[in-house]
Symmetry: C2
Subunit: 133 residues, 2 copies
DNA sequence: ATAATTCCTATTAAATTGATAGGAATTCTT
DNA sequence: AAGAATTCCTATCAATTTAATAGGAATTAT
């Protein structure tokens, strides 16, 4: 799967953050988006590490976006939150494993496919996932 | 994963068939392409059902392509051999499960992504996977 | 002090994918 | 008719990946 539950949860948490604005405790976001709280915690850890959101601990703590919604492309968010965005093992997690990479006639096709997908996902931002009405 | 081992094995079995031409026993194809024989059997069953190859049983039996290599697009082969070619559950196996499909602002993006991938894979054929030299 | 939060590490559960097993049915060759 | 090589069928198991849960430490405002 190119885009799994994890990546989609990440996008939902981020759009929920954008919608509310400012700093919001995860408890609220998780409930609002029906994301299991503990799973959401694991995801926000990734978002913080990637610099997509900033956190404040302790009472009145929470998470906040670090940029405007239109400044996050789906490509960059999913690249961090998915275990891989590659369409095949040949260009993903097991890329290094294949001894035939140098001569494989199919590998260039998979690379071009990945590029196509990434380029597609780069044309959308968080803002595109937020209904205006 | 959009394109898993199964789909890639299918493509390799088919290009091996194209390379040799005529009817070839699976034992030979599987060995040549390093595909586990019994797994290869499961895959050829799908290829036969889809009409991509025809089989002859018994001694001197084997499999043969039903068209010229350039007449198989990657899209159609992978559509049959992969459990889904969709980039997300939202547009794939669990499509029917989601109660928010009607209003989900992200769903159209996933649909467009699927269309982009399918269109990409429709531009390549088996022939493109066969080195000329 | 207390309460509400993020952060950290580990574990478990569920789903998907990859592979294997055994043998029935078919067909050519001798 | 017998035997050998093959496809076909059904069932099961193994490995990997993804999803989710658990418990508590650290932090911070009140």
């Amino acid at each position: 799967m190119i885009i799994s539950t994890r990546g989609r949860y990440a996008l939902r948490i981020m759009t929920a953050l954008a919608r509310r604005g400012g700093s919001v405790p995860l408890r609220v976001l998780a409930e609002e988006e029906s994301v299991p709280y503990k799973y959401a915690e694991a995801i926000t850890a990734t978002l913080v590490k990637a610099g997509f959101v900033e956190s404040r601990r302790g009472k009145t703590g929470g998470y906040a976006l670090t940029r405007a919604p239109e400044e996050y492309t789906l490509a960059e968010v999913l690249k961090e939150t998915e275990s891989t965005l590659a369409a095949t093992d040949c260009t993903g997690r097991k890329e290094a494993d294949c001894p035939h990479a140098a001569t494989c006639p199919t590998l260039p096709v998979w690379r071009a496919l990945d590029e196509t997908v990434f380029s597609f996902l780069s044309r959308y931002t968080l803002l595109d996932l937020m209904p205006k009405v």
